[in-house]
Amino acid sequence: MKIVIATPFYPPDTEPMALYAKKLAETLGKKHNVVVVAYVHFPEKTSGVRIFSVDKQWPLLVRLALYTATLFCVTRKSDILYAENGASVELPAALVTAVLSRPFFIHSGDKAAEARSSQKFFLGKIRRFAKRQAVREISDTPLDRPEILPFDLPSNGTKAEYDSSWDKHIKQLLENFEHAGRH
């Protein structure tokens, strides 16, 4: 399957969504053809994944146009578009889907972005437009990676719990992708 992951953050960004996007690309990239489109300056290398970056240093309208054009080009050759929530990605993803009619999924992992879109009229409009274009909204987010800490300091969860949450998440996503592909 050819999957495009559209995200506003990617490492070296430190936001949880950036780490999620990288882990997702890495995991799906083992068995599928994965392309990431991200607003990032110099993205971290990710094995088996092609990354297209749009620098956030461009003025807003320029970076939106660049992102949309890049997303259009890569989605044209893909089966699935999977986008993180947030207006800067939702708008390009929804526009591209409206033109190309590809199965499009929104992942609502960024709760702050969701809160902003419910408070601001224009962002709310973009969100509703994106939801209308999407096949489905995915709200499940796997656990954060537990840290390995020195001096017997307690870690945030166990590796087994983390792995299991990711296995469940990937299984759910692939089921959704395959189902959308059949229709």
Binding site: P11, P12, D13, T14, Y39, H41, F42, E44, K45, K56, Q57, W58, P59, R145, E147, I148, L149, P150, F151, D152, L153
Partner: protein, 366 residues
């Protein structure tokens, strides 16, 4: 030479204290008899860090008996530094990410009298110094502080404009330029072929990996994040020097701290490096090493610059410091730990050669 500089500093302190003491008294502050920040090797630090100008850091008390720290200067560059510190303090308050993590000592008074800028802040009492805490506590506080800094990234054009205006910023090109300056200045003043070779190797390493330096730039980082610049009260971390905040490589602050801990508390040095290695990407481990090399170039230059201003025991000590940090640079370039005997030998030499004044200044500092 050393005696001349020391004497000039003592005269400067005496003259300034005579002028400042009555002004402070009128403002409701008295100076304590013992002024730890005027003694020891402070005179040499003042002579080297010319960019910030001469400035006195005094300990006093307000009318209510509250201890305060008074920064005062009559030099333009010193005033500029104090103003920059205040701008950084205010900007930090505006950044939501840091609101619950970093605190600044309360400002008591900021004024200009008799051509002197006076910046008075509450003294932050702590029940023990940072290095007196357990290793687990030290590590937890440092990690929390580094994560809070990393939470601020000047990603968009608007962010970067705010960052440049308030804190200043540096990118890979800036780091390479600065390191080149350190290297050229050191090379011009030393005959040590080994040191010259190491610096060339270090420069090649930085140039080769400049993509990785740039990759982790645009983050907020405190470039002097070491125990004497922070105080811990409960769970709060007080920053004593906000002027050292800027936007640059996120591992610059880590690097300064790791290099410091390599000398003062090696288990913390190993724990910080291990944390990055175990929890972050290979590129980030490399970025930390690159920044350590950069900061080591800076500290070697600092001590090479002291040599012409020192004599007697202090000259011998500063030569030992240059050698020690050069050996540290070699170990980082080789990606190997510093041999324990190198550290022990240096500490032994340092403790033998430090003056009583300097030993007194060091008490409770870290």
């Amino acid at each position: 030479m050393q005696e001349d500089i020391k004497h000039a500093w003592e005269i400067y302190c005496e003259r300034e204290l005579e002028i400042v003491r009555p002004i402070l008294f009128d403002l409701g502050f008295t100076l304590e008899d013992h002024q730890p920040h005027l003694g020891g090797e402070r005179y040499l630090m003042q002579a080297i860090t010319t960019t910030s100008g001469k400035k006195l850091i005094l300990v006093g008390r307000g009318k209510d008996g509250q201890r305060v720290i008074i920064k005062t200067t009559e030099q333009t560059s010193g005033m500029r530094e104090i103003l920059h510190e205040r701008i950084c303090r205010d900007a930090l308050k505006k950044m939501k990410f840091a609101y619950h993590v970093f605190f600044s000592p309360e400002e008591v008074l900021f004024t200009k009298k008799a051509g002197r800028m006076m910046f008075i802040q509450k003294f932050i009492e702590q029940d023990r110094t940072f290095l007196e805490r357990t290793n687990a506590e030290q590590f937890s506080f440092l990690l929390k502080a580094f994560k809070a800094q990393e939470g601020a990234r000047a990603a968009t054009y608007e962010h970067l404009r705010f960052a440049r205006k308030n804190f200043g910023s540096i990118n890979a090109e800036g780091y390479l330029r600065s390191f080149n300056e350190f290297k050229n200045k050191i090379t011009a003043r030393t005959d040590d072929e080994n040191l010259k070779k190491d610096l060339l190797r270090a420069q090649e390493f930085l140039v080769r990996e400049n993509y990785t330096i740039e990759q982790y730039c645009r983050f907020l980082t405190h470039v002097d994040f070491v125990p004497h610049n922070i105080r811990i009260v409960g769970e709060k971390i007080y920053l004593l020097d906000n002027s050292a905040l800027h936007f640059g490589n996120k591992y610059e602050g880590w690097a300064r701290c790791v290099n410091f801990m390599a000398l003062y508390n090696p288990p913390i040095e190993r724990a910080l490096i291990g944390y990055v290695r175990n929890n972050r990407t290979e590129e980030e481990t490399l970025s930390l090493r690159l920044m350590r090399v950069y900061r080591l170039g800076e500290i070697i230059w600092y001590y090479v610059n002291t040599l012409s201003k020192s004599s007697g025991n202090l000259l011998t000590l500063n030569k030992a410091r240059v050698l020690f940090w050069t050996q540290m640079l070699e170990s980082v370039l080789d990606d190997k730990p510093l041999p324990a005997e190198v550290l022990e030998n240096y500490k032994h030499t340092r403790d033998q050669l430090r003056t009583e004044d300097e030993k007194d200044r060091q008490k409770g500092l870290h």
